[in-house]
Symmetry: C2
Subunit: 368 residues, 2 copies
């Protein structure tokens, strides 16, 4: 186990656990090397490390080499010029100029909080962006300022609703965060609109396990147990999985996220959303630039005094807790508390990929 | 088959089909008899008939006797005094004074459209209300005025997420409607956040059929095939149904609707949401009055010119249609077109319940 006192040791000597501060500093350095400003590098590093702290390892530092590869291909602009459009008071649209979505998301959410502070609620849409990390980190910006916050994004097509064998939607996550009350952390729903994420299939494949029916279809559009379905032309299924299970609802939610963050922002949508991986080329002739996000905020003070909210939210949380239910946001909160103390564990392969990335950029590990 | 030329015939002579105009006039008369104003009776009748037109028979005129029974018990106020609170420009809260939700929903949505017309987006919350009919009819008020509209409501507890055997959430529907483009009708997602609605269980029970696993649990909290599960202390399951299927997402969406429409509006929430049926008494000591709703609107003109939206929405709709997918809102639209011409079919039992209701109110059927 490593704590922050180990941050002077070179990365390659640290086995299994990295301290949070060491990691954050090193990731920031990587973003600086690709040309991000000090501010942007700090924001992006904080977002990736926040995901690892919460145990959402698929959206954390493990994705850093992927961002760098996209930058090498010219598909991420480390020095974006924000282009804002505001046609009405409580709504703004940001053309992110090909920025890191990690940064564009934080900037857009700040705008949503600013406008909601003035009008009570606001919507901010973003086009021409890239993968924005975990949605919760954006929505929580509002929750930390006494507002309900939301964040969604479209993503490259991996999902095919039953009745079609075309991948037409991404896993299109949506997230809502409510301010904390009493000893409860913020309530945070952060969910892909597919039944399972690609990451779950990868874990099953690595473990040599079959996946449950309802997660994916094969190339012919039939349900499959194979965790390698996506590699052979298959697709993920929307939440609900089957007609009886309500798959039209999951498909509808995925479509809603695509319409809101892609169509309304002016970005690409549906089958044209650019892939997050560098080895797949973006489709041509699409309806707009880059990935689209949607953010928004609703100020509690526009509805009731904060103290009234606190009492109501405590009562709500307590009755759900007493019924034996997990409150959304709590598992990640607990994981975060643990990892802040113990450090963040990585697999050997994960560590090697990060160290290799550092080497390829002549980047000194912390302390060297 | 009955058309509007039959509207002079007494109801009891009309077998199986009622014309739309005859039905609407008769339903309005019932609402007038319980003390609604002309305006409110017209709105409420239009909403119930709209549900029948779209084939959502469970939310249509079949519910009229239930509304009347609630009124007889003093649980619906036919002559409400609207009490508005507005603490910030783009957000309003309505205490509906125990009104019909059918009417409160329309009034609240009108306010959302008015505020969004001024600020670009708006949120309107409602407390102290009752069942609001089909969510889509409220969201579509905005879609008809060039805005994205949304509508949600909490409902009396019938849903128990796995891991708890307490009914703690309603079927808590959420609805989003996008303005139509070209020859496509508005895109409308209107979904319960449970895997299946109570109505589906009733249909299965009437047909003597088992229900699929994943819809309901028995009293012990285990999945069941019995369509009578709710009558013996069982519960509905959230969308996703099982841990593997992503039930935490359906539970999260149901909780989101409860938080938004119940907690934020100042209404009852969770296990305290009052039942829609007159033979169950509301819980006492709850956190607020009546059912809660949430509405909102986002003006297209705050984002882009309407012509640009139209082109983008047509392209989006076409690519989903070409992939063999049903567009949300289309089946109801087609049903409506058919029933506007052919009239609305009812079962004999359904007709008898309506005629009995009329008799109990000394109400003359149309033409008598």
């Amino acid at each position: 186990m490593q704590t922050s006192s180990d941050s002077t040791k070179p990365l390659r000597e640290i086995e299994g656990y990295w301290s949070v501060e060491a990691l954050k500093g090193w990731v920031k350095e990587v973003f600086l090397r690709i040309g991000c400003s000090e501010d942007h590098a700090r924001m992006a590093a904080a977002l990736l490390v926040a995901a690892d702290l919460k145990g959402i390892d698929s959206h954390g530092v493990a994705r850093l080499p992927g961002y760098v590869r996209l930058w090498r291909k010219g598909r991420i602009n480390p020095d974006p010029q924000w282009r804002w459009t505001q046609r009405m008071s409580a709504v703004a649209v940001l053309d992110a100029d090909g920025a890191l979505g990690l940064v564009a998301g934080q900037v857009a959410m700040e705008k949503a909080v600013e406008l909601a502070g003035r009008y009570g609620t606001a919507q901010v849409l973003v086009r021409n962006s890239n993968h924005f990390g975990i949605a919760a980190e954006h929505a929580l910006v509002a929750a930390g300022r006494g507002m309900v916050g939301w964040a969604m994004t479209n993503a490259s097509p991996l999902v095919s609703p039953l009745g079609s064998n075309k991948r037409i939607l991404g896993t299109n996550p949506l997230c809502y965060a409510f301010p904390s009350a009493g000893h409860h952390p913020p309530w945070v729903l952060d969910m892909a609109t597919s039944a399972a994420s690609n990451g779950k299939l990868e874990l099953a494949a690595a473990a040599g396990q079959a996946i449950p029916l309802g997660w994916a279809t094969d190339q012919a559009g039939h349900e499959t147990n194979s965790p390698g379905a996506l590699q052979v032309g298959g697709a993920l299924l929307p939440l609900g999985s089957t007609s009886e299970g309500g798959v039209h609802k999951g498909y509808g939610l995925g479509a809603l996220v695509d319409l809101w963050s892609g169509l309304l922002s002016g970005a690409a949508f549906g089958p044209w959303v650019p892939p997050f991986v560098d080895f797949l080329e973006p489709a041509t002739g699409g309806p707009g630039p880059g990935i689209g996000h949607a953010f928004g905020a609703l100020a509690i003070e526009a509805l009731m005094d904060n103290e009234v909210y606190r009492q109501r939210m405590e009562r709500w949380s307590q009755v759900f807790h007493d019924a034996g239910l997990v409150l959304h946001g709590m598992p990640e909160w607990e994981q975060r508390s643990k990892r802040l103390v113990e450090g963040i564990p990585y697999t050997k392969e994960g560590l090697k990929a990060l160290v290799d990335l550092g080497d390829s950029m002549d980047l000194l590990a912390p302390g060297q």
